[in-house]
């Protein structure tokens, strides 16, 4: 297990706007070890999605160094697959075809078609959607769409899995169900995962570490919390766990005492 698998050093991000420069992120330093699950949490507008976009390579940092698995991050690539908030499945393709597009891109150079198809089916089976392979995205529920998105991301066997508020658009019950699902998948694959969220319970339940962001502009990492809860974690037995509740209140304190909501600060 590599200790410095994902490495961010003095990362800055400045947007050029019509009203001049907008500093979104400054001095972000973070090291993530291989197989770790890290959540990034903060109020909306604190630049947590911006940070994830920098790691995915969808946008470029203005300053600083970003390294993933010993290589500097320059542009997006299938080694850092992303699960987008709004699933981003292509509506003209079935669930299987959506996953297959990713599998084909990554493995078609070395593997035969039958193997590629098996990979796509396995990825869908991993998220419990083997039966919906031939359905189109508009025929399945929001939670299922998001699971297909996760299947697509995992099918590429990424070095790092990036989750951009993957459950933000779902109702509470579906969300809880999918959190359990992610716990199970991460345990199975051991994939290094970085997740952006604004849900405290979600962050504590899933993460090894929680990165708490200060409010923007010029947001940076305010505090990092180690979640020392043994795995496998079970939602129901955790609700009365003192360690769980300590972590939870720690994050809540950071968000609501040290970092007020941005709206309140403006008002």
């Amino acid at each position: 297990m590599e200790q410095r698998y994902v490495l961010l050093e003095n990362v800055h991000k400045v947007f050029e706007t019509r009203h001049g420069q907008f500093v979104a992120l400054r001095d972000v330093n973070l090291t993530i070890r291989q197989g770790e699950f890290v959540s990034i949490i903060g109020h909306s507008g604190c630049g947590k999605s911006t940070l994830l976009n920098l790691i995915s390579g969808l946008s470029d940092a203005t300053g600083g160094v970003l390294v993933c698995a010993g290589r500097e991050i320059a542009g997006p690539g299938p080694d850092r697959s992303v699960v987008f908030q709004n699933h981003s499945l292509l509506p003209w393709m079935t669930c299987f075809e959506n996953v297959y597009l990713a599998v084909e891109r990554v493995f078609s150079a070395k593997e035969k078609k039958a193997t590629l198809q098996r990979r796509a089916h396995e990825a869908l089976a991993l998220v419990g959607l083997g039966h919906a392979a031939q359905k189109y995205p508009h025929e399945i529920s929001g939670g299922m769409k998001q699971r297909v998105g996760i299947a697509r991301a995992l099918s590429m066997q990424p070095k790092v899995l990036l989750l951009d508020e993957p459950l933000g658009a779902l109702d509470a019950l579906t969300r809880a169900h999918l959190q359990d699902e992610i716990l199970r998948i991460v345990a199975t694959t051991g994939c290094t995962t970085i997740m952006v969220t604004h849900d405290v319970d979600e962050a504590v339940l899933l993460s090894d570490r929680i990165v708490m962001m200060t409010n923007g502009p010029a947001a940076t990492i305010g505090q990092i919390l180690n979640v020392d809860l043994p795995r496998p974690r079970v939602r129901l037995s955790l609700t009365d766990d003192p360690a769980y509740n300590r972590c939870r209140s720690e994050v809540l304190k950071f968000l609501y005492e040290r970092q007020h909501r941005p709206e309140e600060r403006v008002a």
Partner: protein, 298 residues
Amino acid sequence: MPVVKIKLTPTPVVDTEIPPAANDSRVKAAPTLLSAPSTPVSRVIRSGLTWVVPPALGLLVFVLLWAQISVVSGLPGPIKTWASATELFAHPFYIKGPNDQGIGWNVLRSLARVGTGFGLAALIGIPLGFLIGRFTFISRMSAPIISLLRPVSPLAWLPIGLFVFKEAQPAAIWVIFISSIWPMIINTAVGVTRVPQDYLNVARVLRLSEWKVFTKILFPAVLPYMLTGVRLSIGVAWLVIVAAEMLTGGVGLGFWVWDEWNNLNVEHIIIAIFVVGIVGLLLEQMLVLFAKRFEYQG
């Protein structure tokens, strides 16, 4: 206490959700006319009331107005025109020399011209639209030309065509081409710029080749926009063909209208107007049906 118990039992919830059939706008339009439970027979009557009666009534009013106007102005009335039409459509494909051919030939020749001009326009306009939509530089380059040439009346292009091609036939096709190309260019280009960024982000994360991006993402996403452009274009082409043929001659609906004007056969002119309208309607409906096959739900 049994009474309290009964009160506490929740009353069975009546399914208040509107069944899908009642959700239909057709039914909403005439809710009071038939409140009886929906049987197949009553449904047929309902859809008849909402879909057949109003258009039929509209056509009836139109024919009556036409009859009235014909009395005042001396135009041929509906009955006289109908008689003339039955005679005309009895032999649609006769040929008596180059200037006297059946209505069927006239329609087919006009359609062939429209097809050629429109086909060429699609062949050039759609790829051009993709380029303009995908590359900002090309978009900025072409913007002044498009906004300059698009509002020009189609017939203003005819002399240019006649001068360049020295012949009537290609000049007419040229007019169709130049007037029907704009909706396809513009709609395709707009479609490309409206492709959701999320889809393109997927392409970037997967690092798809430009060809894959085109076939798997760009083309399917743009297709509905493109087909709207095609539909508008074919409408314009059919609109322009009559005028172009009036000026260029040969066999075709436009020429036929002008010829019958010279013969003072006004019934035939009215018939021609109906034929142009009906063929245009059919073209439009065909493309609407075609476009429906490519609709997708986001």
